[in-house]
Symmetry: C2
Subunit: 474 residues, 2 copies
């Protein structure tokens, strides 16, 4: 393990150099976090399809349990059970539009990860950075459990557990646990734990902070230890169900998969579960007694349990939906945690948007009407009134809205439009609108012919846990 | 499958150009032999260890079900369920001795396979060709089911099913089914079905031909079809037992593995089977009610069933031992088929050598005394007398010996010495003499820390069955 230990120390040093301002030492968060033997216990794997441009290059890295798709280059990095999905990267010849500029791509875009330590992260989508449209770069970065790095080049930063950076270029920042940032760009900043921050220049600003006491019950972090709290307890309880999926080389889904739908062989399907046409169930998704209507998608690390989703529902990366009934086109954002109970049912009406990083953990039954925007921490009807607004009302607003701990400034219509446009894009990209006659294929249709390749590290000695240099191209 | 089809046609053309003399068309043997869907059904895999120099390069090839270890380069080739074991290649700095010349190696040796079609072959050992000590080349070659290519560079040749070329450079030859050739070099020759031919310049020549009627019952070949006969029936009956070994990513052996021994997780272990110290059970080996004494090895594609082997026994690639008791250091050569029956037991005394490609298929019980050389086709005591000689007698002989259909010319002592020296080398290389105090490690000890990597082809479309370009180095 000597080489891996040296590599981790080198990563710590590099990130710390970036984080001298704000002064932050990532060392205590990294050292001892993953027991050495775990770096050899879990295989890494990559997908091979005809649909996505292909290039994998892994050099001087440890990749335990990680998954790769598309074009991914990894140098001097430690990726632990992370998913690096390069299937929505831009292609050569595409034109990247930014503030009236048309930037044509002279090469296929690649995800490039250097000198970084990512633990159970999801890295997805494409770089929205106009400065580097051909490279989605993650460098000198430490990101802890269940952080999402989504279309966000990240350099010299620390992401706490369950943090999400979304369509944002991040330089030299500390992003606190369960913080969500979608601001286009953010530099030299300490984003607090549980801050939900969406900003578009000259358009709008959405800001909410979880109360630290509430947040700590869900995510508690001691440096160098695995996070604790309700989120991790929930995940730990269901961890064993994934074992058989990862132990077999091939697995057929144990449910009926209708026309245009696809279920990853690395998903867990339990109980009385059914899916409709064009449904996408991604790897590491977990469905138990779940009914997913036509065109829904259950993304990586999402859990849908004892719930019915009417159709065209998005449950984004890390979203959890338990004992709930969701109307059509209800959107559940990244790492949202919606927990009804057998005696406290949750229903959410058609077209409502549950913001990323929303916690709904019910102490009484709750019906959220259609067309609402919902955020923050909700346990009952009273909480809902302080953590929601109708999309219609928000659309009409100009200036400032303050509801509970949330402050919205700017053009509400722009905010709602941007969100709804994005929801449509996600549905389209995932193949929700696929029809045999018209085409309109998306991930649900593409991933039907994927083959999985399993790569392993050296098992012992100085090189233990490190992977050889691997290069794969068409 | 279009690309794979074009590749196979290209291989056929290239081999046929080499085989214009002797005129031989490999096309009928290749076309239609493997149903197209099988090229996507089975994964290929490679081993990663700290013990062997590492380089894999696969380009424009189909590799279904094949296994690689060491340094292997494959270009424009179709390998189907073949094992390419480069773990005994020579290393940079080694000195290759040939007739008084010392040839130092300026690079690690690699196995290089080009423009060839190999079906269920075993490729192993290192090149014994003084002309090219750094490259063990297989080019423009078609080799059918269970052919062994052992330390033998092969160019422009056709190997029939169950044929073996051993420590021999082969140019532009047709090697008939179940023929065995160990002659140092052979060019532009048609080696007949079932010919057993061992030759050392200015030393000795061993020659035996199976009777075609006998041979046809064991291996029958119709071009373009899978061979039939007793050998294939035997293998087909046991094929299903391998399924679970290949379906799981990891598997622990289901028997006690003593100090210094190793059992491949791709071996089948059934019934009441036990192994002693320093035993090596290679992948695709099959043990059922087998007792293997200390230092024995069961090599690839060998089957040991209802048998007891006293210790330091070699069962070479493809050897089958059924209802037999083998004394110490009994050697069973490549693709030998020793079939006792519950009521016709076979015993072979200490130190006897069963030549490669020997068929012992008993109609009555048979005791072969210690120290014998055995070859050919034996069903009873009478057959034995025409297909054996004591090693002692052979050692003393000069000139010519004719026994049944076997003709031996030259120095019997040289022949016996060469064989015994080789047996000692195999035992040593496989780790039979390992002791914790003294070291003396071999394969049985090395393979204990191997990790297996699974690679897959494109699943459909024009590229179906083809693999991307893969390069792996330290």
């Amino acid at each position: 393990m000597k080489k891996l230990e040296r590599l981790l120390n080198r990563i710590i040093d590099r990130v710390n150099v970036n984080l001298r301002e704000p002064a932050f030492d990532v060392g205590p968060y990294v050292r001892g976090l993953i027991p050495w033997e775990k770096f050899v216990r879990f295989y890494a794997f990559y997908g091979l399809t005809l649909e996505h441009p292909l290039h994998f290059h892994f050099h001087h890295s440890s990749l335990a349990g990680s998954y790769f798709l598309g074009k991914c280059i990894v140098d001097n990095a430690v990726l632990y059970k992370s998913d690096i999905r390069g299937d929505e990267l831009k292609s050569r010849g595409d034109v990247f539009r930014y503030r009236g500029l048309d930037i044509p791509l002279h090469d296929d875009e690649v995800i490039r990860i250097k000198d970084s330590f990512l633990v159970k992260n999801l890295v997805h989508n494409n770089s929205h950075d106009p400065e580097s449209p051909e490279e989605f770069l993650i460098q000198n970065t430490v990101a802890l459990q269940y952080a999402n790095i989504h279309g966000s080049p990240v350099e010299g930063s620390f992401l706490g557990p369950f943090a999400t950076v979304d369509l944002t270029t991040v330089h030299d920042c500390v992003i606190g646990k369960y913080a969500y940032v979608q601001t286009g760009e953010v530099t030299h900043r300490y984003v607090e734990d549980g801050q939900i921050w969406i900003h578009a220049d000259n358009a709008f600003n959405f800001n909410f902070h979880f109360h630290p006491d509430d947040l700590n019950r869900y995510v508690h972090l001691v440096p160098g230890e695995v996070p604790t709290g309700i989120f991790m307890d929930f995940l730990e309880e269901r961890k064993r169900d994934f074992i058989s999926a990862f132990e077999s080389v091939e697995l057929k889904p144990n449910i009926v998969v209708p026309e245009g739908a696809s279920v990853s062989r690395y998903a867990v399907i339990k109980g009385n579960t059914s899916i409709g046409e064009n449904v996408l169930v991604a790897q590491r998704a977990y469905l138990e007694n779940a009914c997913l209507g036509k065109g829904s998608n259950a993304q990586e690390n999402c859990y849908i349990i004892n719930s019915r989703l009417e159709g065209f529902n998005i449950t984004a990366h890390g979203g959890k939906v338990i004992h709930a009934r969701l109307g059509k086109k209800v959107f559940v954002g990244f790492n949202a945690f919606l927990q009804g109970k057998p005696d406290c049912s949750l229903s959410i009406g058609e077209g409502s948007i549950v913001m990323p990083h929303t916690i709904i953990d019910l102490k009484e039954s709750l019906d959220i009407p259609p067309g609402q925007l919902v955020w923050g921490y909700i346990t009952n009807k009273k909480d809902l009134s302080r953590h929601s607004i109708s999309l219609e009302e928000l659309s009409r607003s100009e200036g400032e809205i303050v509801i509970g701990a949330m402050i919205f400034q700017g053009n509400g219509g722009d905010f709602v439009n941007a969100f709804q446009k994005r929801i449509e894009h996600i549905l389209e990209a995932n193949g929700a609108y696929y029809a045999k006659a018209t085409g309109n294929r998306g991930h649900a249709q593409y991933v039907q012919s994927i083959s999985f390749n399993i790569i392993q590290p050296y098992l012992e000695g100085d090189l233990g846990g490190m992977y050889p240099t691997i290069d794969i191209c068409p």
